[in-house]
């Protein structure tokens, strides 16, 4: 990574097949178990352990059970606020989505490079976030057409639109609706990638500054390092916020499908 004092900030996103699974194929598709898949597995396992710790079902909850219950309560409250009573049945999906993204984002930020393990943030790949975005969008479409049949298209004509404006508004609303899966997937991917690139670039500055010897070098290094510390804190915030935004937007879109306007 650091060749001749240079850091390639994009190298961290490289996907590599692991454990000699490079030749795995299903129906001609190349599906090696990559470092990305490994971190998906780690996030899944961590989430499993977390939720399993809250399954004691005690009347008076312990700390762990309280933590798990506060997360389910948070998602439940989010759906109740955005969708209403009909939102209850989406709790499993939105909880899975929120927690999976949250764990992925936070695990990707762990400073495991110190012990020689490189965490991989699979939410910084649009091939991964795109799957989640398309899943959410598919649920919206299925629920919308299942519940409202073709009446679902009235979603694209807001109340009180003048008759002459209906064709134009319909097209605009349709485009904004169709953009949703892209914006949903790309927002998470871009936010996660940008943060990680920024940290890597700043760490490159720290190294370059140290290599530059006395003079301006240490100043650059120290300033960059301080900025890195601040941005690390910001990234932890972003990890939570992006997971929340993904879950929130999904619930808003599902609300459109459940209740139209």
């Amino acid at each position: 990574m650091a060749e001749q004092g240079k850091v390639d900030p994009m190298h961290q996103f490289t996907i590599e097949p692991m454990f000699g699974t490079d030749h795995w194929q299903i129906a001609g598709y190349h599906i090696p178990f990559t470092n990305s898949a490994l971190w998906m597995a780690i996030a899944t396992l961590a989430l499993l352990v977390f939720v399993a710790g809250g399954m004691k079902r005690q009347l008076v909850p312990g700390r762990w059970q309280m933590a798990v219950e506060s997360m389910t309560g948070f998602v439940d409250g989010l759906l109740a606020a955005n969708i209403g009573p009909a939102g209850k049945k989406y709790v499993p999906y939105v909880f899975s989505l929120f927690m999976f993204i949250l764990f992925a984002n936070v695990l990707g930020l762990l400073p495991l490079g110190i012990v020689g393990v490189h965490p991989f943030t699979f939410t910084s790949h649009f091939t991964a976030t795109g799957v989640l975005a398309i899943l959410s969008f598919a649920i919206v479409l299925i629920v919308g057409f299942w519940k409202h049949k073709l009446h679902f298209f009235s979603l694209f004509v807001p109340h009180g639109t003048p008759v002459v404006m209906i064709p134009l508004i319909f097209c605009i609303e349709l485009v904004s609706f169709l953009v949703r899966p892209f914006s949903l997937g790309l927002r998470l991917f871009v936010a996660m990638m940008a943060g990680h690139v920024l940290l890597e670039v700043l760490s490159g500055f720290v190294i370059s500054g140290l290599n530059a010897g006395l003079g301006i070098g240490p100043v650059v290094s120290i300033l960059s390092f301080l900025l890195m510390v601040a941005i690390c804190a910001l990234e932890i915030l972003v990890a939570g916020i992006q997971a929340y935004v993904f879950a929130l937007l999904t619930s808003l879109y599902i609300n459109d499908a459940e209740n139209l306007h």
């Binding site: 996907i15 178990f33 898949a37 499993l48 798990v68 389910t72 499993p92 699979f122 091939t127 799957v131």
Partner: protein
């Protein structure tokens, strides 16, 4: 940018493993475990609500019992007061009648005693008269040698005694 540079060779793997692991998360954690966690929360909320309702009901019952007890205590107190008053009245009446009876008895005794005294005085007076008649007759015979008639002596004694 590896996300795009490696797109052709990695997209299938990324999508496949994403579906596998997110599928696992959704079906095992989301569908399997989350409803149980939420059911726990719900049953706890229900229990708290029912406990609060039970406590409220118990408090209302306690209030009602206290009120009933107070009413009963008041009525019992009034009853007791009435009983005391009645007993006092009866006792006063009984004392009065007994006092009256005792007074009547005493009056009767006094009367009897008076009668006896009067009788005794009468008897004593009669005896004195007889003795006086005898003595007067005797005296008259001895002193004057007169033979006084008993009737005359009696009337004379009576005259002398009752002057």
């Amino acid at each position: 940018m590896p996300q795009i540079a490696q797109l052709a060779e990695t997209y299938a793997s990324q999508i496949f493993w994403m579906l596998v692991f997110f599928g696992f998360v959704f079906f095992v954690i989301g569908k399997g475990m989350v409803p149980k966690v939420m059911a726990t929360v719900e049953s706890r909320d229900k229990q708290i609500a029912s406990d609060l309702a039970a406590a409220e009901a118990a408090r209302a019952a306690a209030d009602a019992q206290e009120e009933a007890w107070r009413v009963q205590a008041n009525s019992q107190r009034a009853e007791a007061q009435a009983l005391i008053a009645k007993a006092k009245g009866e006792a006063a009446k009984a004392t009065e009648t007994r006092l009256a009876a005792a007074a009547a008895k005493l009056d009767a005794q006094v009367e009897a005693a008076d009668a006896r005294i009067a009788e005794a005085r009468q008897g004593a007076l009669g005896e004195i008269e007889a003795v006086a008649v005898e003595a007067a007759t005797d005296i008259a015979q001895r002193l004057a040698g007169l033979k006084v008639d008993a009737g005359a002596a009696t009337s004379a004694v009576k005259e002398a005694l009752h002057v």
